[in-house]
Amino acid sequence: MPMTVRAMSQVSGHELEVRKLLARVLDPEIPVLSIVDLGILREVRQEADGRMRVAITPTYSGCPATDAIRTLVRAALDAGGYADAILEEVLSPPWTSDWLTPEGREKLRAFGIAPPEESVASPRRLLAVAAVSCPRCGSRATECVSEFGSTPCKAHYRCSTCGEPFDYFKCL
């Protein structure tokens, strides 16, 4: 799950408001995905002293977007009246592409990036690399050009049917 799940009755109005606020923060590298779609936002919680605590997690250790996202989250909190919120980065459990929301996967596809084909938890993934569908024409006749595409989270593919090159968001 992308976030710590608690019963709705335990979620304060401020927490809902902050979540809504942060759902508008977009990934600078893939500007159709919010940090909620990506599963980067891990926790929003009101502390006993009333301050909000927000936890985010990096996708990859070296993802250059992490610094930018931290700045954007801070700015969104400040602008939303939560300048005293505590913003922290958590590493454990490590981010996985399984935390991409279903909406996030569809947004990726519409943007021209093939979403991860398999769940990381799937035992099938250990046996073979799944066929990747072309985000443009849907063909499964695609080939991996390079394990690393424009960013560490993506591989570079080519569709054999429509001939288009495309990025594939890798399973991690």
Binding site: P58, Y60, S61, G62, C63, P64, L91, S92, P93, P94, W95, T96, V145, S146, E147, F148, G149, S150, T151, P152, H156, K170, L172
Partner: protein, 264 residues
């Protein structure tokens, strides 16, 4: 494997000091290897490989930042990741000597990468279970990235080794040249032993057969021959480096040394 190495001062170190040295070694191996790979940007044989090496570099430097920040906190002298990366001299760097070896041709870089990827895979997988939760969290993140690194480097090792006579000859020569740096990967010293006894780090002796089996499997697929060479007597993780590290640091640290505290 040779016996445990003596690390000057190690027996007198506090547990925090020993842990700091251990974390710095992991940090420096990733940082130095990441810096080496970054030298390829704009020079790789194909655009895809240029991007691939740059991405590996990015992951490694990202891992190094996490380890360096932690090492700085353990040290408790107020040094952050930047101070540790840019303001230490070569003898204070504790990376494996293999990581600092020059790039050579693409095949040479692939062999160096593949040997270290296979090592990091074992070390990080074991560190995921460390009693040190901070170390375990960084390793859990890093091992997932390293699996992709290994797929990249071992894939190229096989394509080049089982490729043309020219590519085969080049990677075999690279392997023959770099193999002497591999005993350091599994030669424990007092720091390694202390960390292992405390349940904070794996026993290198236990990891070695797994690494070796993985290496042999890839060598078979790549039709390459495992070299028999004399181990290199220098040990990077104890601060004793080949002449190449100083040149690498000269470039990496130039800006911060010339304009201390420069930001952009």
């Amino acid at each position: 494997m040779s016996a445990t190495l003596a690390m000057p001062g190690a027996p007198d170190m506090t547990p925090e000091e020993a842990r700091c040295v251990y974390v710095l070694r992991l940090a420096d191996t990733s940082l130095v290897l990441g810096q080496r790979l970054a030298e390829w940007i704009g020079h790789a044989p194909a655009l895809e490989e240029d991007l691939g090496l740059a991405n590996l570099s990015l992951d490694l430097i990202g891992q190094a930042r996490l380890f360096l920040t932690y090492a700085g906190e353990l040290e408790g002298r107020g040094r952050d990741e930047d101070a540790l990366a840019f303001l230490r001299d070569a003898p204070e760097f504790l990376n494996l000597a293999l990581a600092e070896q020059p790039n050579g041709d693409f095949g040479h870089t692939i062999v160096r990468q593949w040997l270290i990827d296979a090592w990091q895979l074992e070390v990080y997988a074991a560190l995921e279970h460390s009693a040190d939760t901070r170390l375990a969290a960084i390793a859990a993140k890093a091992v997932r990235e390293t699996r992709y690194h290994y797929r990249f480097s071992s894939g190229w090792l096989v394509r080049l080794g089982d490729g043309t006579p020219e590519s085969h000859g080049r990677v075999q020569r690279a392997l023959d040249e770099l193999w002497r740096f591999t005993p350091e990967l599994f030669t424990p010293d007092e720091i390694d032993e202390r960390m292992s006894r405390a349940g904070l780090a794996p026993s290198l002796a236990e990891l070695e057969p797994r690494w070796s089996a993985r290496i042999d499997e890839a060598l078979r697929a790549a039709t390459l021959v495992r070299p028999v060479t004399q181990p290199y007597p220098w040990h990077g993780k104890r601060g004793i480096h080949t002449e190449h590290l100083g040149h690498l640091l000269g470039e990496m640290q130039h800006l911060q040394r010339t304009y201390p505290g420069a930001r952009w």
